[in-house]
Symmetry: C2
């Protein structure tokens, strides 16, 4: 049983809270049995698995207080697994989500969960976007981070499909295309940059008959995915 | 200028972080200029307004470090306002959202923001639901908490409109009605209780062709509001 905070696996889990350490090591952490079971069902094998002493779970037993001390969820953690990050090079055409400037990891995770539900073929991460393997993103994705192909550093031009920019407050709403799409989402307050807008084949906005000027970014993108599904199944 | 942490207004702002204090005093806190301006545009008058020294904003000047020390946002706060909570007794028919068991204040705030955008006539809070005046909810609402009528403790039977229960994973999706609706949302993992389902005129679920079993609760409810809008404007 692991009882020392100097144990290399314990030190690694602590280190992987930092974005820099995740980039350098190509590893990330997922906590909890729900995430572990989605990972396993999606064919991911953990590099390390640390489990609470006496939990009966498979992995290296760790003294309870020590495991809690490296948990991002706080007390009561039963399992912490370390996985290798995985990005795909060439996403399949269908419905690809491309993000620019979405900095909140909780929003990114929520959006990956929706992408999984709506059968997106990939989520692509552009500039200034939160790391999908941030512990908050992994948790908010409810494990969908293991199921949806993720792409990093792709040029919009290279993503297959009609490029649809999601914009707020347009007075005229265009119709979504009934073919392969790339849905492009900008930062919550700033929206899409003019250089990105130039790459879009069309823009689409969500009709908002009420008074609010905008929606949460993960909500807006999820509605766009739902709308694409509706068009394509109608 | 206020410089003492014993100042009554400072003590009150600190106290209003607690749900119990908000219930007892019927007051809540909103931070930041964005929220203050939505409140003002929606006709709300603050009971107190505390502003950072030298900010030039209207209100009682507070020494900068002292104001930061009672801020839930951390350093750099320029304005903290205290408002009276406001619940309506009889919500107008149209599109009412009724929540049961939604405990996460960030989700509640995000959902109120969507309710505002989609022109919901009220958001109604049932059992075991986060306080909409929780600072995290107020912030996630982006000020929509000031614009959308909120109802607390209403019986579902008394809310006007066709009662539509949002459920997950149904194999058959019914059509949303083109008339006044009450959209009823349960807790993220548990869904609606059987007693609530009995009160529903129909259930509706979001088609999820991908692999995820569920969506974030605020996302799911926002999609339902969008879908109601689409039905009613078609």
């Amino acid at each position: 049983m692991i009882t020392s905070s100097d144990n290399p696996a314990i030190k690694e889990v602590r280190r992987l809270q930092s974005s820099h350490a995740r980039s350098r090591s190509e590893l990330f952490v997922a906590e909890g049995e729900d995430l572990a079971s989605v990972a396993s069902a999606s064919g991911w094998n953990a590099v390390h698995t640390l489990v609470r002493e006496g939990s009966g779970l498979e992995g290296d037993e760790v003294q309870a207080e020590l495991l809690d001390s490296v948990s991002a969820l706080g007390s009561g953690t039963r399992i912490i697994s370390v996985f290798e990050r995985h990005f795909v090079d060439t996403p399949a055409a269908g419905m690809i989500i491309h993000l620019e400037g979405l900095r909140d990891p909780g929003n990114v995770g929520t959006l990956i969960r929706s992408a999984h539900a709506f059968g997106a073929t990939a989520v692509s991460f552009g500039d200034q976007t939160a790391d999908p393997y941030n512990p908050k993103s992994v948790r908010a994705s409810m494990g969908s981070v293991f199921a949806v192909p993720l792409v990093v550093g792709a040029a919009i031009e290279d993503l297959p499909g009609v490029k649809v920019g999601l914009v707020g407050g347009a007075s005229v709403t265009s119709t979504l295309p009934d073919e392969d799409v790339v849905l492009i989402l900008g930062a919550e307050r700033l929206g899409l940059s003019s250089s990105t807008l130039e790459l879009c084949d069309l823009t689409w906005s969500i009709p908002m008959p009420g008074g609010a000027e905008s929606l949460n970014a993960a909500v807006a993108c999820s509605i766009a995915m739902y709308a694409v599904n509706r068009i394509q199944s109608s």
